[in-house]
């Protein structure tokens, strides 16, 4: 995990190779979905420096897509690239946890984080 984090950081300066591909699954324009979208945009803007792609999938319109990424919880953010796949569920209101979940930051104390 830490190896990948180190690799991700220099990529901010170097080219397009390490674009983070994110997919946000929502189900209809619920307040929680809107909140998750807003949070995601803010985090990406603040920490990813333009090297990201966000795809929002509304399962109400495309329910068949839920099976592929094994989506149960809504909203779910999936980091499809770089591998491995990471999933973060919830409205993404905890910035710290989102960054850790996306492998953008080391977990300060993974045991404690898991409990919170």
């Amino acid at each position: 995990m830490s190896r990948r984090t180190k690799k991700a950081k220099p990529s901010k300066e170097s080219g397009q190779a390490d674009v983070i591909e994110l997919r946000l699954y929502i189900a209809g324009q619920t307040p929680r979905s809107l909140k998750a979208m807003a949070n995601l945009k803010r985090i990406c803007g603040n920490f990813l420096d333009g090297k990201y792609r966000i795809e929002v999938i509304d399962l109400v319109r495309q329910p068949q897509l839920a099976q592929g990424d094994q989506i149960l919880a809504i909203p779910t953010l999936v980091r499809r690239l770089p591998p491995p796949i990471r999933k973060i569920i919830g409205d993404l209101s905890n910035v710290e946890r989102v960054l850790v979940g996306l492998d953008l930051r080391d977990a300060p104390d993974s045991a404690r984080m898991a409990r919170v």
Binding site: A27, A66, I71, L72, A73, I74, K87, L92
Partner: protein, 596 residues
């Protein structure tokens, strides 16, 4: 109250129909026996929980419900698996003859596998399980599903860390399923002291089914119980069930109560002399007969005669041998003049043999059930039921036999069971304690006397008929069984050569008596002849006297004639005038009158 007289299954069916009309319908599962105890199946459009320990058959139950629904009842189904992938599931049930891939292709089944990897997921902020709903809805709408299986929903609880969200979502899920009118089966692991580990039964209150797998004497028996079924009558007992190559079979025989239709028809026992002891007609059709006796007392022969008689009538007979192989039975039957071979070839006699220890009681019962279902025999012989005792406990065997007897009676099948009484045991007590279930009980016993052992037979009981109370000597000849009236006298019961000896003694006595009578008869004859001779002599004497008398009167007449003639001569010689003659006449007639 006409309802009362109908079998409970029909009553249940009627109730269900009534329920269907007012909204509480049933979705038949197609699981053999389950629809019977639940009165038609699972609650239609509602959720049922199937719970139990690991490996007790929960998934199997759910799958059979889905597959049979899709295949036999035109209700497509969705399988949401949390534990096994569709490929694994397909492989697992292929051995049961369920072709999931085929059903999926025909759009009758939708498989969705939900994979939960808690390590892969991080939670941040609020969420719900709308994704599950979306997937379920998508699946249901794709094939127009009426049935859903969630296997095992509780896996969710290990995938997410917020139990409060989970609980509310599970509750919402059940409500959603109900609103959509989906008949759902949710499988759940049994918890410690609770029906399900996560208390799912609190959310679903329509129907809870508990499955159980217990090991007793190293034999595993699966049992099923309907813990709860809102708004429906159902069997409340624990019902043993089996999973075999045709899926689940529940054995609900004891629910049927004592309502079976009975028959007045009689069927021959196959032994003419035994028929004679039972009003000359034999057993009642559909009754259960027990033939008990010590080793070698001829139980199997009596059973064989019955089987052969059934075949002779053109009926099918299932012969379950738990002691002897088919070939052995055929050979042994020949020795008493019963040729089974042609009946087997004609398909009328179905002989199946297996070891009592081959499997558990339930499997025995199921085996017999299946054979009966396939062959539809009018008669069944189980020879001997004692063998089962060695393979299991008394209680288990008894319960199995009760259900077997019930099942046979329900189907109007005449049954003959043989039971071996151990030497020294009370003869009139079967080890299986099923005597109360039995309609006719024929007891075979050996009588040891003057250095030999002879067989005796008597009818201990026979419900509903005036049966003979006689003890008969039981002979196995090469033309089958014969029953002879045993010699019963002041000296006791004599059989075999003792009977022959006694009969010889009787004969001698009889001869003696006959001779005496003959002698007396001759005496009498002699006397009669003497009497007749005497009569003859008297008659001869009388005749002689009569002749003498006759002679006397003749002489007298002649004398008179002579007198007359003399007088005429005298008158002629005297030349008497006619006047004188006239005077003389009265004098003459006076003289004549004195001599007649």
């Amino acid at each position: 109250m006409a309802n009362r007289t109908r079998p409970i299954t029909q009553r249940l069916a009627a109730t269900n129909q009534a329920h269907a009309e007012i909204g509480l319908g049933k979705a038949p599962t197609g699981i053999q026996g389950f629809d019977q105890i639940s009165g038609g199946g699972l609650p239609k459009g509602r959720t049922a929980i199937v719970c139990g320990g690991p490996g007790c058959g929960k998934t199997m139950f759910g799958l059979e419900f889905l597959v049979r629904g899709a295949r036999d009842f035109g209700e497509p189904g969705v399988l949401m698996g949390f534990e096994e992938t569709p490929q694994e599931m397909t492989r697992n049930v292929a051995s049961l003859g369920f072709d999931l891939a085929d059903l999926v292709q025909k759009q009758k089944l939708f498989l969705d596998y939900i994979f939960l990897e808690p390590n892969e997921i991080r939670e941040t902020g609020e969420y719900d399980l709308e994704g599950l709903f979306v997937r379920l809805q998508y699946a249901v709408e794709t094939i127009g599903a009426k049935r859903v299986l969630l296997d095992t929903l509780e896996a969710l609880f290990s995938g997410f860390s917020n139990p409060a969200i989970l609980r509310s979502e599970v509750r919402r899920l059940f409500r959603w399923l109900k609103e959509k009118g989906l008949t759902t089966v949710v499988t759940a692991e049994q918890g410690d002291g609770t029906l399900t580990r996560q208390g799912l039964e609190e959310y679903v209150s329509d129907c809870v089914i508990l499955l159980d797998d217990r090991i007793q004497d190293q034999v595993s028996t699966r049992r099923m119980r309907i813990v709860k079924y809102r708004g429906s009558s159902h069997g409340a007992d624990e019902y043993p069930f089996l999973i075999d190559e045709h899926g689940i079979s529940v054995l609900p025989v004891t629910t049927l109560g004592l309502n079976h239709a009975i028959s007045d028809e009689r069927v021959s026992t196959g032994v003419a002399d035994l028929d004679a002891m039972m009003e000359g007609k034999g057993y009642y059709r559909g009754s259960s007969v027990l033939v008990s006796g010590t080793a070698g007392s001829g139980k199997t022969t009596v059973a064989l005669q019955f089987a052969e008689a059934a075949c002779r009538r053109g009926e099918r007979c299932l012969y379950v041998g738990l002691e002897e192989s088919t070939d052995q039975i055929i050979r042994n039957a020949l020795s008493v003049g019963i040729d089974l071979e042609p009946w087997i070839q004609k398909g009328l006699l179905l002989h199946r043999a297996w070891r009592p220890s081959q499997f558990g009681m339930e499997m025995h019962l199921l085996h017999i059930h299946k054979l009966i279902d396939e062959a539809k025999p009018q008669s069944v012989v189980v020879d001997p039921i004692t063998g089962l005792m060695n393979a299991s406990t008394e209680r288990t065997v008894q319960s199995m036999l009760v259900r077997l007897v019930d099942f046979l009676k329900e189907n109007g099948i005449t049954a003959v069971f043989t039971s071996q009484t151990k030497g020294g045991d009370d003869l009139e007590q079967t080890r299986e304690a099923i005597s109360s279930l039995i309609d006719s009980w024929i007891l075979l016993r050996d009588i040891e006397q003057s250095g030999e052992r002879n067989r005796c037979l008597y009818v201990l009981k026979s419900r509903g008929m005036a049966h003979s109370n006689q003890l008969r000597e039981f002979l196995m000849t090469n033309e089958g069984v014969r029953l002879l009236p045993a010699y019963v006298g002041p000296g006791g019961v004599f059989t075999g050569s003792a009977r022959l000896a006694q009969e010889a003694r009787d004969k001698a006595e009889m001869l003696d008596r006959d001779q005496t009578i003959e002698r007396k008869k001759q005496d009498l004859e002699r006397k009669r002849r003497a009497l007749e001779a005497e009569i003859e002599a008297l008659r001869a004497e009388f005749a002689a006297e009569a002749v003498e008398m006759d002679n006397c009167s003749k002489q007298a007449e002649e004398r008179n004639d002579n007198v007359e003639r003399n007088r005429e001569h005298m008158a002629q010689s005297r030349q008497v005038t006619p006047r004188d003659e006239e005077d003389e006449v009265p004098m003459n007639s006076k003289a004549a009158g004195g001599t007649p």
